[in-house]
Symmetry: C2
């Protein structure tokens, strides 16, 4: 209460222009002259938070392009999010605007709350602004952090949206069976590294594709993949997949799309399952690369299933219990790529599409 | 027994050359000088049949192209078929050869049998030769016809493979709910006309696309579709679909593929299901048309599922009971396009890809 009305600087990451093609650092700027009052207005129903860790995720790219008229992406910006608190539909993931700081997932500390479920000092994760402080007007969408014996940044990854996407996508969408052959693209990223470990728990044979020798080594030696390859060194992805899967692929956890997906479909086994988690190869293209080998989906009776993690959030707390115990027992490995300071966000975002990050890309805004 | 050794003429449809592009009548010829002895060899385990009705189906096109090395189609030719008699894997759908008559589905009468489950006079449906008489060496793959109060030709369609594909594809793969919005491409064909009627039983809103005004009228006035359009008159399939599905499509039963599928994906509702039954628009292309709108499958959480009817054959007899009672009660409409004589097969096969047939394409070889 003593700090009522205290006005502080609030550095923000602003989108300078809508993005076409690959994002560039110059598409963003850091606004340094914004300020915020560290007290909510009297009748606010929202929460005021101090952002601690901000999460750079490939999906954000979509929300940064201009949409003219009806768009194939319109349903994405309008996708509903379950509230962790009320179990009801809470809000919609917003498109990025040029006027306000960009939004994305983060870990934050509540400084002031007009919402009965949140109080000063609570730690939360969910959608927030890419700035030092944010007022979140739909706090129903936030998850309260109850366990702080693990790094808080983990709630942007293994304990947050990407981790749960890996879990629900693999166990719910892929319906794995012991001994099945699993292929994961973009396998060292926030989601892929976990899918690979979940698949090993299930007794599957697991191979991942990545974009560097360093990442190949990481998959094999750190995450326990059975094998891995660098797609940049493979002139023919079909040949590469046949080398690692001479008997074909039962499960594909797909993060890349385009030519990779086309080659994967050719190498699927009968009744194989493809979980479409992301298509990072396509996000920066004006015209997407077509998937040509669709006939194979009939002959092989493939199930190709897109999913958004929001649909699965009612099961999140169960996931959290499972994965926390694995973390505490040292039974799961998780690699983050942590950048320092809000100024590093443009570079970190751009780096996602160049494969520059090694592990989950996080930015520390403040440590507490 | 008296006719032991009787040798008769056996007209056959032979593939003259492997097909590239659209099939032409000149890709086939009728061999008129073949003969067959109407008695099986002493130790045969097969059955000798007289073919009555032969079925012209789009899937046959694939098996008529030359495969050099590993092919995306190899798993199709190798797909396993359940035996109606033993419930076990019986045989594989063969690729077409240039030496022997082409093979496909048909209705036939058993003239001689070395198999304990079949006897002279039995009527059967299943894979047979496109000729007057055939020796079937894997009779486990045949279904015995028990109900003859309906036209025998129906066992090439509504009571056979296409009918059961419509039923299992719609009810099992699409998992329909009352009131859902269903779009069927190639909707007047053997499969599509039935899917539409099944969907109406479920209380769905049903629209089909076809290739002529006559077929549009048939869908609306004969099969009870809520609406229908002629895709040849639509310069923009996306616009056409938005006209009939302003709120989007829940279920797509896809028989066409290519540009149609791409437009459909754009118009699917969240959690929509696409059953891939066939991609007739692609069968004659050297390079398939890519499906570009894959991102939408993620945002809308689409399930795209290929299926082959063989996997569902264990449930066939239940289907037969259901649909026979509907036929007897006049509660289902079924349209066949019947050509006369084995000589008409090349034209009938070619016509499938020009949309010339109105309803299920059958050829009568002999009426009994």
């Amino acid at each position: 209460m003593g700090e009522r009305g205290l006005e502080v600087r609030n550095k923000q990451v602003i989108l300078k222009n809508y993005i076409t093609g690959y994002p560039k650092e110059s598409d963003f700027y850091i606004k340094t002259d914004a300020t915020i009052t560290l007290k909510l207005p009297q009748d606010s129903y929202g929460v005021l938070v101090k952002n601690l860790y901000l999460s750079c995720d490939p999906y954000m790219r979509h929300l940064m392009q201009e949409i003219k008229g009806p768009s194939v992406f319109s349903s994405y910006s309008a996708c509903s999010v379950y509230s962790s608190v009320s179990g009801t539909l809470a809000y919609q993931v917003p498109r990025q605007s040029l006027a306000k700081p960009i939004t994305g997932h983060g870990v934050a500390e509540v400084l002031d709350s007009g919402h009965p479920e949140f109080k000063k000092g609570d730690l939360v994760w969910g959608i927030t602004g890419f700035e030092e402080y944010s007022i979140i007007t739909t706090p129903e969408s936030l998850f309260k952090i109850e366990h702080t014996d693990v790094p808080l940044s983990y709630y942007t990854g293994i304990l947050g949206m990407p981790g749960f996407a890996a879990y629900a996508g693999f166990f719910e969408v892929c319906a794995p069976k012991k001994g099945e052959r699993v292929f994961i693209s973009a396998a060292s990223g926030a989601v892929g590294q976990l899918v690979g470990q979940f698949a090993k728990w299930m007794g599957c044979y697991v191979v991942g594709s990545v974009g560097s020798k360093e990442k190949v080594d990481m998959l094999k030696n750190k995450f326990g993949f059975d094998d891995a390859f660098n797609y940049k060194e493979e002139p023919d992805l079909d040949v590469a997949l046949k080398r690692y899967f001479p008997e074909g692929i039962d499960i594909n956890f797909e993060n890349v799309g385009g030519k990779m997906l086309d080659a994967v479909i050719l190498n699927m086994r009968n009744h194989g399952r493809i979980a479409l988690c992301g298509l990072i190869s396509q996000y920066n293209l004006d015209k997407p690369q077509g998937v040509n080998n669709f006939m194979v989906a009939i002959y092989k009776r493939l199930r190709i299933q897109g999913f958004l993690i929001f649909d699965y959030y009612p099961g999140y707390s169960k996931y959290l219990d499972v994965v926390l115990s694995y973390i505490r027992d040292g039974k799961i490995v998780y690699v983050e790529d942590i950048a320092e300071g809000i100024e590093s966000i443009p570079k970190a975002l751009v780096g996602l599409f160049e494969g520059r990050n090694v592990g989950k890309q996080v930015v520390v805004v403040a440590r507490e």
